[in-house]
Symmetry: C2
Subunit: 165 residues, 2 copies
DNA sequence: CACTTGTTTCACAAAGTTGTGAAGCATGAA
DNA sequence: TTCATGCTTCACAACTTTGTGAAACAAGTG
């Protein structure tokens, strides 16, 4: 099959893909992600492992190069996508790496640990031996639990999947 | 210049608590939560199990009753807080229930399942037997795995904690 | 019933975000 | 070097979001 940019493909398929991209982007937006980064990310989800160039993204999503620039920077900062360039190629390719999700979810523990630290300060502030302190400490412990367990969960999936292939 | 709102507590402790509330709210904001809901939620985190009234929230956070109204509605919609009124009391109390976190995190599977469904449409759109389709399907399967495992993880914590008390 | 107290709704002003065109910058080719 | 191409930055305009005061509404109380 052709690895040509989108203009030569089956238009019906293209349409279905486009609808998926917008739908998935909307879900991500509802979950708190900014619009353009969500659209770019969704587009890269349905791209091949080569990813897409900035120009291709701009055409597919009907946005300016400036918008693409901002969106990819945002995504890269959050480690959601990667940038690369193949030898002899003059354009950057943006793509979602094979291990990206595992990395992203597996490293969610960083956020949780930050919350834990803050919660611990809170426990000190209200006093550890008060009712309120104990309540807060329970929340802290729960997040601590998640921070430890999440990476293990991802690891379990990885093995479960490698066994399948 | 603030004439600092006066409650009957130790002012130094109050100050530390206030700082925690703002700090935690900021973390939640960075994680995608709207500002006022995040502040209200954080305030309720350090409240006793009685929670706080709208007036207390307004005074503590220095915001209008209207802002409180909007923020608590938002939080209740997401099942982050509860509302209750004690017999003989004329004001509503807002509070974070004892099982709130377990519910919130444990039901994150709903979001994941929604993503799964969308991803499956995507797989159909690009074709299940293509390179791109297989990549997408892998993502879908990963989320499906999370949707199944998360509630079990929470259940595990619950038992782990009940054993301790 | 009227009165008091507490909550929600509404319209608007302030503040913040977003996406754009245009200009500037970097990199490779000839 | 100069040219061509692609990426990023910048200032601005359009659009959203946010929080407020004021008024409407609800629910107890005497």
């Amino acid at each position: 099959m052709s690895s040509r940019p989108q203009s030569q493909r089956d238009p019906a398929e293209d349409d279905a893909v486009l609808r998926f991209v917008e739908k998935f982007a909307l879900l991500l937006t509802n979950a708190g992600m900014a619009r353009m980064p969500a659209r770019v990310f969704s587009a890269l989800l349905v791209a091949g492992s080569d990813g897409m160039t900035a120009a291709e993204l701009a055409e597919m999503l009907q946005i300016s190069p400036a918008a693409v620039s901002g969106a990819v920077r945002y995504n890269m900062q959050l480690n959601m996508i990667e940038r690369g360039r193949r030898p002899g190629e003059r354009r950057d390719h943006y793509f979602i790496g094979d291990e990206q999700w595992y990395y992203t979810v597996g490293h969610r523990d960083v956020l949780f640990r930050t919350l834990c630290d803050a919660l611990d300060e809170g426990v000190q502030a209200v006093g550890p031996n008060t009712d309120r302190g104990r309540r807060l400490a329970e929340t802290r412990d729960f997040f601590n639990f998640l921070a430890k367990e999440l990476p293990m969960l991802v690891e379990r999936w990885r093995q479960h999947w490698e066994a399948k292939s």
